[in-house]
């Protein structure tokens, strides 16, 4: 179905997201931080990018900015994984060009619903 890039420095979160989406038939690639995500995105056109905000090397917000600077990623949906306690991150993400967000914690069903929503 869709090619999705899942970005999070937490291996367990990444695994959960990837496993859930693969189970729905998507082709999921994983990256540990924003920098590795940008490199992966350059090598391959993804239909959707899911990224955590707090990551070492390059955080989610900076990653969005970088991706939006790439021609192929001008209109690609990018969702930030934010937490309730930092609502300002949503705005920061939007300002950087993110499409929307998914609030942590979320369960696999919520993830699938949101991804389904974006991919249409």
């Amino acid at each position: 179905m869709a090619k999705i890039l899942a970005v999070d420095d937490s291996a367990s979160m990444r695994s959960m997201v990837a496993f859930t989406l693969r189970g729905a038939g998507h082709d999921v690639e994983e990256a540990e931080n924003g920098q590795l995500a940008v490199e992966a995105a350059k090598g391959r056109k993804f239909d959707l990018v899911l990224a955590d905000v707090n990551m070492p090397v390059m955080d989610g917000i900076a990653m969005v900015r970088e991706l939006r600077g790439l021609a192929e990623y001008k209109g690609v949906p990018i969702l930030m994984l934010t937490t309730e306690s930092h609502p300002e991150r949503k705005q920061e993400g939007k300002a950087a060009g993110a499409t929307g967000w998914l609030v942590k914690p979320f369960d696999p069903d919520q993830l699938l619903a949101t991804v389904g929503r974006v991919l249409g």
Partner: protein
């Protein structure tokens, strides 16, 4: 599609959380020591944030609630609203401990929170000051039934670049009720002037149905601020609006995928230890096969034998390299174990009001993962012991003309085929009189006469021994030096002690580099083959019958380098059949274990070889005096002698 079972991610979560806690602790200690590295607080924050996120996602509510408060405090520091002070560091260090325990409990499936964690949570919350307000979710207002909604939606020109697609949003609306759309193309410029990535269209939408306002708002949640949006309630049926398919500007068409040129830096992957063990097994088999072939080659006599031999030599080299490389996978630097000591030493020395400086050396020394996992506890005990009993009080040190701050040296290095770890303090050294007194009291000795300092030092390894007036909570608790020694022995290693009164004490732990493959001396006894680990062997000697001294009780002693050592006949120890040989007709292998030496009497030496250690316990059970088994080149099984075990048996015999 089957429901996703989150339990499969738990272990990864616990593993990475523990790593995160270790990173937090190291960073906190650095801050405590006065570092002004700005990155430290970010490391600490990220670790807490990740644990909180994961805990909430995987259902560990207590852990999430606790780390949430810690994170709030860290957020204040990170944003500059609060400076990090000793009190905060102390609370956070304690939080690390508490979260560790909470994670263990969560992993065990029991309630994570307890009085201590709750108390600490309150303390953290108090420090944060204002109560942390959890953002409230959108309140779904109870709306009286509506007929529908009229929506005016005008995206700003850049909307498409955020990846939000009006068509997609409209699809979501149609899922709520019947949707009519009317596109307004007034703002559409000429084709020439049009920017394919900009949005020029606006819409008039009519959504029919009794739909809660919140659901409509949710569809436009992400684009709030990126568009003009007006949502009004429909009071009555309006004349049908002709629906026109909106001309939405779509993003660029697909482009050719560029070849991946990026070569990521060396990354790490997690590999289950079962896979590694399998690999090691296979390498072990390869070693045996290669050795079988070598033996076969010895018996072949033909032209081309030189080539065959050369081929085998290369196979031997390849096998050795492969083996080293596979063993290397399981090797980890001892820093994994040493890392806990800065914290431990800091806490303990504070608690006991002593000044101790920790000197860590050789942290990059690598050892096998399984050995690493089990060496921690013995080392902790030795360190606790040093700080509790080894170091004198600050006052006493001053009186003795010593530096008020004691030095505790923890050093690891390779020596021969082993790893050596030393725990050395410059404290008061062992108190000879106190130890002898205690030993007599415990019935281990009748008098201290004729005992060398080393003999006295060995006494502390006797079970149940403790010279502390009151067993302190720190190094007491029924854990004695005997357990330290036993744990080290179980790893195939040994622990020895050296002490100088007034100057200090040094514990030396010697461990095998790996548990899986050892170098051994093959010996034959009554037609049976036994392997003696090379690392324990000092020398092999041949003794004349008259060089043996008999002692009461049937024991035999022989002279070796200025000492009389006991002889252990393998045939007796293992009940081998056959008549008794004279000492002059066999070989004595002098071995050392647990600080003692003895001579193993065997019929003859066969050779030297690498032995892949196989477990007896896996299918049978532990056999006293035997540490494992190996498979010889001919496929037969040979038993490996447990030197430390025989030494222990021997000392029991002596005491009896």
């Amino acid at each position: 599609m089957a429901k996703v079972d989150l339990a499969q991610f738990h272990r990864a979560f616990f593993d990475e959380s523990n790593e995160g806690l270790a990173a937090m602790e190291a960073a906190l200690l650095a801050l405590d020591a006065g570092s002004d590295d700005g990155e430290l607080i970010h490391t600490i924050f990220r670790a807490a944030h990740s644990i909180k996120g994961g805990a909430a996602t995987f259902g560990f509510a207590d852990v999430a609630a606790f780390t949430h408060v810690a994170e709030s405090l860290l957020e204040e520091v990170r944003s500059g609203r609060r400076a990090i002070d000793a009190a905060a560091v102390e609370l956070l260090l304690r939080s690390v401990d508490v979260v560790r325990v909470m994670l263990e409990r969560s992993a065990a499936g029991i309630a994570a929170a307890d009085a201590e964690s709750e108390a600490l949570r309150s303390a953290l919350a108090a420090m944060v000051g204002g109560a942390v307000v959890a953002t409230v979710g959108p309140a779904s207002a109870a709306v009286a039934g509506v007929a529908g909604w009229d929506v005016t939606f005008r995206p700003f020109d850049y909307l498409l670049k955020t990846g939000n697609e009006p068509l997609r949003m409209f699809r979501e609306l149609t899922a709520l009720g019947r949707l009519e759309t009317l596109a307004n193309l007034d703002a559409l410029p000429s084709l020439v002037a049009m920017d394919a990535e900009s949005a020029y269209t606006s819409w008039q939408l009519t959504l029919h149905g009794d739909i809660p306002r919140a659901k409509v708002d949710a569809v436009f949640d992400w684009v709030d601020g990126d568009c003009e949006l007006a949502v009004t309630e429909r009071k009555s049926a309006s004349p049908a609006v002709s629906s026109t398919t909106p001309a939405a500007a779509t993003p660029n068409g697909p482009r050719a995928v560029r070849e991946v040129a990026a070569n990521p830096d060396a990354q790490s992957i997690r590999v289950g230890t079962e896979k590694i063990d399998l690999l090691i097994n296979m390498v072990g088999e390869l070693v045996i096969t290669q050795s079988m072939l070598s033996q076969f080659a010895d018996g072949v006599d033909a032209a081309g034998l030189e080539q065959f031999r050369a081929g085998l030599a290369m196979l031997a080299r390849n096998t050795r390299e492969l083996q080293e490389s596979v063993m290397g996978i399981r090797m980890l630097p001892i820093s994994h174990v040493f890392n806990r000591f800065p914290r431990l030493v800091r806490d303990l020395s504070q608690k006991l009001d002593k000044k101790v400086s920790l000197d860590l050396r050789g942290e990059t020394t690598e050892l096998d993962k399984s050995v690493l996992e089990k060496i921690g506890d013995p080392l902790v005990h030795l360190v606790r012991n040093a700080i509790d009993h080894g170091f004198e009080s600050t006052a006493r040190r001053r009186e003795a003309g010593k530096n008020e701050t004691g030095t505790l040296r923890l050093e690891a290095f390779h020596r021969g085929g082993s790893i050596v770890v030393e725990v050395a303090d410059d404290g008061a050294g062992l108190n000879r009189e106190a130890i002898i007194g205690k030993a007599i009291e415990r019935g281990l000795l009748s008098s201290g006469d004729g005992l060398s300092d080393d003999d006295v030092a060995e006494l502390i390894f006797a079970p149940g021994f403790s010279t502390a007036a009151a067993t302190t909570d720190l190094s007491g608790r029924g854990v004695g030096m005997d357990v330290v020694r036993r744990n080290v022995n179980d790893l195939g290693g040994s622990v020895a002690i050296r002490s100088v009164t007034g100057k200090g004490t040094t514990f030396t732990i010697t461990l095998p580099l790996t548990l899986a493959i050892i170098d051994g001396l093959t010996a034959s006894v009554a037609g049976e083959t036994y392997i003696v680990p090379l690392v324990s062997i000092i020398e092999s000697v041949q003794i004349q019958a008259d060089g043996v001294k008999s002692v009461a009780g049937g024991g035999e002693l022989f002279r070796f380098r200025d000492a009389w050592l006991p002889i252990v006949r393998i045939a007796d120890a293992f009940g081998c059949a056959g008549s008794r040989r004279g000492i002059g007709e066999g070989i004595v292998i002098v071995v050392e274990g647990e600080g003692a030496r003895l001579g193993l009497f065997v019929d003859e030496l066969i050779g030297q070889q690498q032995a892949v250690v196989k477990s007896l316990e896996a299918n049978y059970r532990r056999v006293s005096g035997i540490s494992g088994a190996t498979i010889l080149a001919d496929g037969a099984v040979a038993l490996i002698v447990d030197i430390a075990g025989l030494v222990r048996q021997q000392s029991r015999r002596k005491a009896a």
